[in-house]
């Protein structure tokens, strides 16, 4: 059970505090409710580039990292389709430095041309390292626009194209900041060696004076239902042929989300999952195979990917995948199998909730979803999923007309 207290400042900043005295550290997490889905189609990658700019100094503090390192702190951040999330851990005596740094960069950034130019280069190298200089690295860049036609999930967080990252100027950055970075568009969580009263006092002192801002309202195009199967084939000089399949699912808050999460665990949860057992161990069609949900707030994807063994025909491999999926409805999980994935879910939740940083991130994300209490109920929700619900969700979502497939074919001999 994770106990927490909760308050909102006058400027709209939401704060959650979870005290855990088993550690000498405090974790501080700030979630900004802005991600790559909030970008204009001709300026994709801006939210992520902006995350980099947040470390280039703020209006009153020339450098972010140095003062934090001075008090033994460590920090990082990530950007997703939905959120931009900043976090730090720090020995508890020095937590006020965390408040000082984070409130100043919420107040206003020091927008410098030099920092923008450097970080554009850094992000371009990141783009190359992750997507261009890895075998199969570009698969995700091809899959998104295949699955999404209008919703901004059609581009990746890093951006659709390097040239769009290159074209960002200081004015774009400044505008982005003032329309998305605001106390009333953020969630602050504090976990670890800190109590409610101290957290409240420091929040009032450092974040209280920041004025509420007008946040750009979110009007995202709704992705129309997919009605027919989509297939894309690409050929590349890679060692093995790979197969990717994605199906549209409901939004993060829909009741089917947890059921489909359990479906992916039945399919690919560990080496005893059905896909691994049937297709890797028994039939030896794949060298690796995996399935998971993208966990997006708007309707996301169930993602399945596998790399083929040498000499295996891709149609044969795909049919075998379809058979495993069908087996979920024909030969639904016997109680043992359901019990297994539920136990594993419970275990993984308990492990994830041992670290203060994980707890800080989860609380913030559940608050964004509208109910931080979910952090204590996920295991029960998962435990209550029935075989009937699994069959129903599989029949509803895992159908060909809802699926996009990428054949990533190797041009090498023997594949």
């Amino acid at each position: 059970m994770i106990n927490f207290s909760r308050f909102t400042l006058d400027n709209g900043l939401k704060v959650l505090v979870h005290e855990d005295r088993s550690t000498p550290l405090v974790a501080m997490n700030i979630l900004y409710n802005v991600g790559s889905r909030d970008e204009e189609p001709d300026k994709t990658g801006l939210a992520h580039l902006f995350e980099h700019l947040m470390f280039g100094g703020s209006v009153n503090i020339p450098e972010y990292d140095m003062p934090l390192q001075m008090v033994g702190g460590d920090n990082n951040a990530f950007t997703s389709n939905d959120i931009t999330n900043y976090y730090l851990t720090i020995p508890s005596d020095n937590i006020e430095t965390g408040f000082w740094l984070e409130s100043d960069r919420m107040l206003e950034l020091d927008f410098s041309q030099k920092n923008l130019d450097t970080q554009k280069n850094v992000v371009i190298e990141e783009y190359k390292q992750r997507y261009l200089n890895q075998p199969y690295g570009d698969a995700i860049l091809k899959l998104r626009p295949l699955a999404y036609k209008v919703h901004p999930y059609r581009w990746p967080t890093i951006g659709m194209d390097i040239s769009q990252i290159e074209s960002v100027d200081l004015e774009n950055a400044r505008k982005f900041f003032f329309s998305h970075y605001a106390p009333n568009n953020a969630i602050l969580t504090l976990t670890g060696s800190i109590n409610h009263d101290l957290a409240f006092k420091l929040c009032q002192k450092w974040f209280g004076p920041i004025e509420k801002r007008i946040v750009k309202s979110r009007k995202l195009p709704v992705e129309p239902a997919q009605n027919e199967e989509r297939i894309l084939t690409i050929k590349k000089d890679v060692p093995s042929t790979a197969l990717y399949k994605v199906w549209h699912i409901g939004p993060r808050k829909s009741k089917d989300f947890n059921t489909l999460d359990l479906v992916t665990d039945l399919l690919a949860g560990g080496e005893s999952g059905r896909l691994y057992t049937k297709l890797v161990r028994e039939k030896k069609l794949f060298s690796e195979i995996n399935a998971y949900l993208t966990s997006d707030i708007d309707p996301g994807l169930l993602f399945l990917q596998g790399k083929l063994m040498k000499g295996i025909n891709i149609q044969q491999a795909e049919e075998a995948i379809n058979e495993v999926i069908t087996s979920l409805t024909d030969k639904p999980g016997i109680n043992d199998e359901m019990e297994k994935v539920k136990n594993k879910f419970e275990s993984s939740t308990v492990f994830s909730n041992t670290a203060i940083l994980n707890k800080a991130m989860s609380l913030a994300f559940y608050e964004l979803l509208g109910n931080p209490e979910l952090i204590n109920h996920e295991v029960d929700t998962y435990r209550n999923i029935s075989i009937e619900m699994v069959i129903e969700a599989t029949r509803k979502y895992l159908v060909p007309s809802n699926c996009s497939t990428l054949y990533y074919k190797s041009t090498r001999k023997g594949n």
């Binding site: 008090v71 033994g72 430095t97 409130s103 130019d117 200089n133 060692p239 030896k284 297994k340 993984s348």
Partner: protein
């Protein structure tokens, strides 16, 4: 308000870290157990570690393959059953085969301790090494290998170890295609009989330790006996290759991987704590000189780092990055420039103060929670050291002076002795 915002809140000195001592005892047959009570949740981490790493192998892949086959079937369970049971009891099992040691680490809810230990005994001491599973594993591993050989960072790192330790030594040998055909059940069984023995094992436990732990450990592991004790085989001498600069040409890449470094001292050497601090200054954290210069100033890379690592027979320092090919030579020049600066110019007090404080914070994180505690315990214990190593490190962080940093940089980053490996398209 602005005046207040320009001044950093008061800085409190980071408290000296107090490290809980591991409780140690022996099972009936002498297996040493180290137990660290910590944490708030009813979970445990148990590591079974054997002197069965790469250093013991007489064929490439032998140590890692033996290790990976442990969960592929045992005397009483098929591979499918083993994996299903592990998942059923919510166990996370990590196989681990490193340069010196190999074994498994299991994470589980304490309430399942009995079943988990039973399965661990099967996995560690009664593996069957079935031929069909081995064949299928080797085919998979070969596919993974082929994918990894496409990545410039793997090409550079593998070649780096060959260069600094020598291709004739287990630390340095590279895996090649034909190695995948040589593994047989008989070879694995032989390796297992020799090195996965109670004599060769230590058990490290942390978390909320179940009261039945020592009884159950004795029940499942205390009666095992070791067979013949094998004499330590003589290892080939560690000897770096003559060629100090190597480029591996890989067509069609947009970034080049760079690895620069050398073999060096390990944790048992008195200079090691100082070397750790020097390494932090150079490239050990976000505020290090390499990160500031190559990423934050010039934007040549997404990341650059240096690290120093201990092995049983040696240690090594390595600087690693991937950069756009047009900036490759410029990056290499800047790396040497930064090393020369460390050898010739005294570090400013302000910079040294940041490193001291950052590292003191890192030390708090190294002992925060049951998993971090166990990792830190193991990485001193395996060198025959105890917590006094960490107290020495903490003391060195506080007291090291700029002269010492120069001296260490001259001794341990002698540019003439560094190896430089690059991989990518020229």
């Amino acid at each position: 308000m602005n005046i207040l915002r320009k001044i950093q809140p008061p800085l409190y000195p980071i408290k000296k870290v107090v490290i809980p001592e591991a409780l140690s005892f022996n099972l009936k047959n002498g297996i040493p157990v180290y137990s660290i009570e910590s944490g708030t949740e009813e979970i445990m981490r148990v590591e079974f570690t054997f002197k069965a790493g790469q250093i013991k192998e007489y064929l490439p892949l032998l140590s890692s393959t033996t290790n990976m086959m442990l969960t592929e079937g045992s005397q009483n369970y098929s591979s499918e059953e083993l994996n299903r049971l592990l998942d059923f009891y919510g166990v996370f099992l990590n196989l681990s085969a490193e340069k010196d040691r190999a074994g498994i680490v299991v994470f589980f809810l304490s309430k399942h301790i009995d079943k988990v230990f039973e399965l661990c005994r099967e996995i560690l001491f009664l593996p069957a090494f079935p031929e069909e599973e081995l064949d299928s594993l080797m085919k998979k591993r070969f596919r993974w290998y082929m994918v990894n050989r496409e990545k410039v960072h793997n090409l550079a790192t593998d070649r780096f170890f060959e260069s600094i330790f020598g291709k004739g030594h287990q630390y340095g040998h590279q895996v090649i295609k034909k190695d995948f055909d040589l593994m047989t059940p008989a070879l694995l069984k032989d390796f297992h009989v020799k090195y996965y023995t109670p004599d060769n094992l230590a058990i490290i436990i942390s978390g909320r330790i179940h009261k039945k732990t020592s009884g159950l450990l004795n029940h499942y592991f205390g009666d095992l006996t070791s067979g013949t004790v094998y004499d330590e085989e003589k290892n080939t001498k560690l000897k770096g290759e003559l060629k100090r600069k190597v480029h591996i040409n890989k067509k069609g890449t947009v970034q080049t991987a760079i690895r620069i470094g050398s073999a060096t001292i390990n944790k048992r050497h008195p200079d090691y704590t100082g070397l750790k601090i020097l390494d932090s200054v150079l490239g050990g954290f976000f505020g290090s000189r390499l990160m500031k210069n190559i990423r934050e100033e010039k934007g040549y890379t997404y990341g650059i780092s240096s690290s120093v690592t201990s092995l049983d027979l040696s240690g090594y320092n390595i600087i690693a990055t991937e950069v756009g090919k047009k900036n490759c030579q410029k990056t290499i020049d800047e790396i040497y420039k930064e090393i020369r600066l460390l050898q010739t110019v005294h570090i400013e007090n302000d910079e040294l103060e940041i490193v001291r404080n950052y590292m003191s914070g890192e030390m708090v994180r190294m002992f925060d929670g049951p998993f971090a505690l166990a990792d830190s315990f193991r990485s001193a214990w395996e060198f025959g050291l105890d917590n006094s190593y960490y107290y020495r490190l903490a003391e060195k962080i506080k007291t090291i002076d700029p002269d010492e940093i120069i001296e260490l940089a001259r001794t341990y980053y002698n540019i003439d002795e560094l190896y430089e490996v690059t991989a990518g398209t020229i």
